[in-house]
Symmetry: C2
Subunit: 359 residues, 2 copies
């Protein structure tokens, strides 16, 4: 089969010809339909993060946002022909309590692989294998968009952590503020706008009109906030302070900015991973006081687990297909890999398609 | 009756003679036994924080850590002779949902008074009145230490918020790290050491031996960490990283330091309120990454509510009296007010006693 592999020396991304994997006992064989590309994939391809090859290999098959069809259930609980999307993490030690509990998203660094990211081959290949416990059903009507389940699941985990944290009292949030209008930010905004949790949504960017991200924000019903015109510090004065902030850019100062943008009792979650050290002059007196006096919370969120994937798949089934479609700005075959990994202001979600019928 | 009042012009603390309050319908009259003094009281006395006088008054009766005995239940559900401790906050608007829910600790700034701190007379007087919903029973055996319920309730709220937040997964914390060896820090350490939540406790200070705070830390079973020898950044290397940090100093950089001291999935709560702006050069890249990659949480915690007072009163009944006694370094009458408010390395908890029999 063909697969997209990162060779860390270089680094170089190449289409390789490799053996179609054969499922072990307890694993199914999945025929890949499509794989989404996100910011992490581009950073992996550039050698900035991740990219650790599996032991004994000289390359890593990349891709972690995938949708596929069960080609061979191989005696598992799955059904041939079922549409599925795979989770990302796998345990180093199958017996660890995080593996047994299905909470690998909370496992400490070093105790897991991330398929397509580090230590274990990913999904940008014609076929992959997986245990059924790491697969989630995708409704057939959304087979062409199933790669959105993984990024949406990050927001679902953030909401899970946020609402669980605030269940210690009668929290009544009204507004959600997404930092960043990249593909995760826009997907999150669409999920938050169509969900029941918040009455109003905002999305932070730094683009001039006309711009397709601003159009998307306004089409789904959100309010665009231009960070060049309204600083995060001024946001609470210009608009209302936000009950919930979902940070997607990884811009290092945003963890602090997010606290300032919050209303009393608000929660900010950060998901992006900055590129490295980055020092800023921070008024820690103000940060500390605001956290305390207004009972604010700042949560780091990484990865997600099965219930978050399931919630994401459920949302995918409900959201109008047109919303999902307007986020996909390019579907490429393996012959278009370079374009697929290129990024521009016009790029929202690029997808590598393995099945011309569905895509 | 006699009371201790702050006159903001000055500012000056004076013993005044004032009318004994008479309870309105639905209120009880409480005879004060003793009132603890904490760092906030000293800052109020110095005119640094709070101190807003009730409307129409020229002074504020201070004191918010009190224990008293019901002198006149006045037809309420209370019993004459019952030992009680009062909550701090009262609503500006009785009908607000935070008041109705008993969650004034989560009410936004400006919607509540704090008795003895801002806008409403406190408890450092021979008598005070209160509605029973703002009073919590103290076991008679602990009448002499009932003023510890309020500060302990802050830790109980922190634990409530922390364990609620982490109930989103199977969290198994082992170690707790208290920042600060002032009276709240030591009280918190004693509570954490005698509680079931954590197997190991640490307490951060900057004192040389021999020192009574270090003695206290070691007597209750904690490990003293000298911040001059082990920076918070090095703490995780020297000891194990902490699953829970309880910050009590209000040192502005500690909100950031606390995140670095945490183990994966750990929670830090900050309670202290810094004196104002204080800028530091912060590696936001590292802060942001650590939050995300290790699923860490930073929570601001202010004030507390009735269930937290009840949990604190329950702990007070269980902890050996000797532990509480060794925290009280001075009991003063109104003639010793100046000494009571003085602070020194030998001062742990100073108390103004109104009842010579109990105290």
């Amino acid at each position: 089969m063909e697969a997209v592999a990162l060779f860390p020396d270089g680094p170089e991304l190449r289409v390789i010809e490799t053996d179609t994997p054969s499922p072990d006992d307890g694993e199914a064989l999945i025929r890949t339909l499509a794989v989404g590309i996100d910011g992490s994939d581009r950073r992996i391809a550039a050698g900035e993060i991740g990219g650790d090859v599996p032991e004994g290999d000289d390359h890593l098959i990349i891709g972690h946002e995938a949708v596929g069809v069960v080609e061979d259930a191989n005696g598992t609980e799955l059904t041939d022909g079922e549409i599925v999307t795979p989770l990302v993490r796998r345990p180093v030690d199958e017996g660890s309590r995080f593996a047994r509990n299905g909470e690998l998203d909370m496992a400490p660094p070093g105790t897991f692989h991330e398929r397509g990211i580090m230590g274990m081959h990913g999904y940008m290949a014609e076929y992959f294998t997986s245990e059924p416990e790491y697969l989630v059903s995708v409704p057939e009507s959304r087979a062409a968009y199933g790669f959105f389940v993984e990024p949406t699941s990050i927001l679902e985990k953030s909401l899970d952590q946020t609402f669980t944290a605030r269940s210690a009292f009668d929290w009544r949030p009204e507004s959600a503020f997404v930092f960043g209008n990249g593909n995760l930010g826009l997907l999150a905004l669409a999920r938050l706008e169509t969900g029941e949790e918040f009455a109003r949504t905002y999305c932070l960017g730094r683009r001039d009109r006309p711009d397709r991200t601003i159009d998307f924000i306004e089409t789904v019903g959100g309010t665009y906030v231009d960070s060049r015109e309204v600083s995060v510090a001024d946001f609470t004065a210009e608009h209302a302070p936000a009950d919930y902030v979902f940070e997607t850019t990884g811009y290092p100062k945003h963890a602090v900015d997010a606290v300032h943008a919050l209303a009393p009792n608000g929660v900010a979650t950060v998901q992006g991973i900055p590129g490295g050290s980055a020092s800023f002059d921070i008024d820690c007196g103000e940060l500390h006081s605001e956290l305390v006096v207004s009972n604010k919370a700042l949560l780091g969120v990484v990865n997600s687990r099965k219930p978050h994937f399931e919630a994401a798949a459920e949302w995918l089934a409900e959201v109008p297909e047109s919303v999902l479609d307007s986020l996909v700005t390019g579907r490429y075959g393996l012959d278009g890999l370079e374009e697929a990994f290129a990024d521009s202001p016009e790029t929202l979600k690029s997808v590598v398609a393995f099945d011309r019928e569905v895509n």
